[in-house]
Amino acid sequence: MALPQKLHDEFTELVTHYPERRAGLIPALHRCQEELGGWLSPQTIEDVAAFFGLEPVEVFGVATFYPMFRLTPRGKHLVSVCHNISCTLRGAEELLAHVCHVTGSPVGGTSPDGKFSVVRVECQGACANAPMFDLDGVYHEDLDRAKAEQILRSCK
């Protein structure tokens, strides 16, 4: 197996931004996660390692350090609910409970139909518009239960 040609070409350009090839590793892992099913499979880790001339364990060590990289498959949609201080002060725990209720997913898991995964995340820098969640890479801010439910129900 090897990286899809499209990603291979992208990464070949990406590494020209830096004096050392390895600097492209984290942006490359992001692109793989986006393009290859929302997580980094052992195969993807191996393919990325081969591209960068690293041992797979080295890439694995980097991937496990960063909370945004997921090493297990997830549901079709990922809901990341901020539970840090500014969001907690404005009802993040209630919001999280409601998100779980609406999606049928426990925190840290996936709904039985595979449609949603729900995770807790630390501060997302949306403190003045708390509480919030990130749904598939888009921030939804100033949430209450009704607004959150409407957003989640509109997911295909």
Binding site: I26, H83, C123, D134
Partner: protein, 441 residues
């Protein structure tokens, strides 16, 4: 509140504020053009930055111009040199740089060009936290526009100044906001902070001279170059000059990001800027500059919000991210949440931090759940004194320990009450989400 001149947010409300067209129509890129065509010398740019008194807006408040002057003399040290822009905004409560990057990305790019000219840097890397996708996309689009207009790349504006600006995405680790952790991460590694010395100006990215600056610090540069140091010093207080972006969140009527001059009291900001404590309640306490800065009780709300005054009050100005707690807030619960954060974010290199943040979290959690003992309060203090100040490679341990000491100092009675009652009288029973074992992203 008196009217005061504004500049940082002067463009963000304009239509299509993120485009080159709007930026140019507002006089954008005139500062770098002046620098290149007059021409200024790099030393003159560093000089005006020093004279302005601008203090870094990323938390430490270190003078930006002085930081730039630490870069080695190019005639004696020919290594390539770099600017790294710290856009890893992750300090809880902080949401200000995001506004600049989403709404006024060209302002940051022009600032990068000026900084790179002054420090003779070959390239700037803008390290944006991975979650800030809109910031990243807006900045990338702005870089593409600027490159097409001859403002980035080789021979900028037909001069012999060449400079590249590259976007770089982080992946959710708070520690990468620490400048040496950021550099490790940018090099494609785990974000483990490096022991100092060597300092970044001597050996930074790829062992080359590097300066790491916060977004808002860099964003100030074109304004200072254009309007001069005297103009900048006419705003604020003598030792904290210019305006700053305040993020205010928590229990206020109008949370938001506001441009303010230094010199207002915390109380004025809460009442006159943020619409007062919400629901007609009273103020209990506030974090002045993010969750790493010591909590101050309401009785200290007359502190002036500038670097030195907040420090004299026993806390820190930090990133000017005020988090407001009303009278119903439970301090044990607040500390449980903030301690959980530092426990999660410790990189694990130093034992004081790796173990200490975990202990602090466990102790706060058991007190907040009515299972603490009186001995726990002394344990919190002795643990914190073992973690800080300056006992570890970076300041994350301090960020966990210092607010712990402040909370126990100012709110000991609240912790004692939780322990005595075996429950937290201020905790409201809320719905709890079902959790799997591996609950944290």
């Amino acid at each position: 509140m008196k009217d005061f001149p504004k500049y940082l947010l002067s463009r963000v409300g304009l239509p299509e504020s993120h485009t080159l067209r709007t930026y140019r129509a507002q006089g954008g890129y005139a500062a770098i053009e002046d620098v290149l065509k007059k021409p200024w010398t790099p030393e003159q740019v560093i000089g005006v930055m020093k004279d302005s008194g601008l203090r870094g807006r990323g938390g430490a408040g270190f003078p930006t111009g002085m930081k730039w002057s630490f870069m080695p003399d190019i005639t004696k040290d020919p290594r390539p040199r770099y600017l790294a822009v710290n856009a890893d905004e992750s300090e809880p409560g902080t949401c200000k740089d995001r506004v600049l990057m989403e709404k006024d990305p060209h302002g940051l790019i022009e600032g990068c060009l000026i900084a790179c000219f002054a420090m003779r840097a070959k390239a700037a890397y803008i390290y944006v936290r991975g979650e800030y996708r809109l910031s990243y996309n807006r900045l990338q689009a702005a870089i593409d526009e600027a490159r097409a207009a001859g403002l980035i790349g080789k021979n900028i504006l037909g001069t012999d100044f060449s400079c590249d600006i590259w976007m770089h995405k982080g992946a959710g680790a708070y520690i990468c906001g620490e400048e040496t952790g950021l550099m490790e991460s940018l090099e494609g590694k785990r974000g483990h902070p490096r022991p100092k010395p060597p300092f970044p100006a001597g050996s930074g990215l790829w062992k080359s001279p590097t300066t790491v600056n916060n977004v808002e610090s860099i964003f100030n540069a074109p304004f200072i170059v254009k309007n001069g140091a005297e103009w900048f010093k006419s705003m604020g207080v003598p030792k904290s000059t210019g305006n700053f972006l305040l993020g205010i969140s928590g229990h206020v009527n109008k949370p938001g990001v506001y441009e303010l001059p230094f010199g207002l009291t915390a109380r004025q900001i809460i009442d006159e800027v943020a619409g007062g404590v919400w629901k007609g309640r009273k103020l209990k306490a506030f974090f002045p500059g993010g969750s790493s800065t010591g909590l101050l009780p309401a009785s200290m709300a007359d502190v002036v919000m500038d670097h030195d005054s907040v420090k004299a009050a026993g806390s820190m100005f930090g990133t000017a991210a005020m988090i407001i707690l009303d009278e119903t807030a439970s301090i044990p619960q607040v500390m449980d949440v903030t301690a959980r954060f530092y426990d999660h974010e410790s990189c694990g290199q130093c034992s004081q931090c790796r173990e200490g943040t975990q202990w602090l979290h466990q102790i706060f959690r058991r007190i907040a759940h009515g299972k603490g003992s009186m001995a726990d309060l002394d344990l919190l203090v002795s643990l914190s004194n073992g973690m800080a100040p300056a006992k570890t490679i970076c300041a994350l341990a301090d960020a966990a320990a210092i607010p712990t000491l402040a909370a126990v100092k100012h709110f000991r009675h609240e912790f004692e009450e939780c322990i005595r009652l075996g429950r937290d009288p201020l905790r409201q029973d809320t719905q709890h989400a079902p959790e799997l074992h591996e609950a944290h992203a």
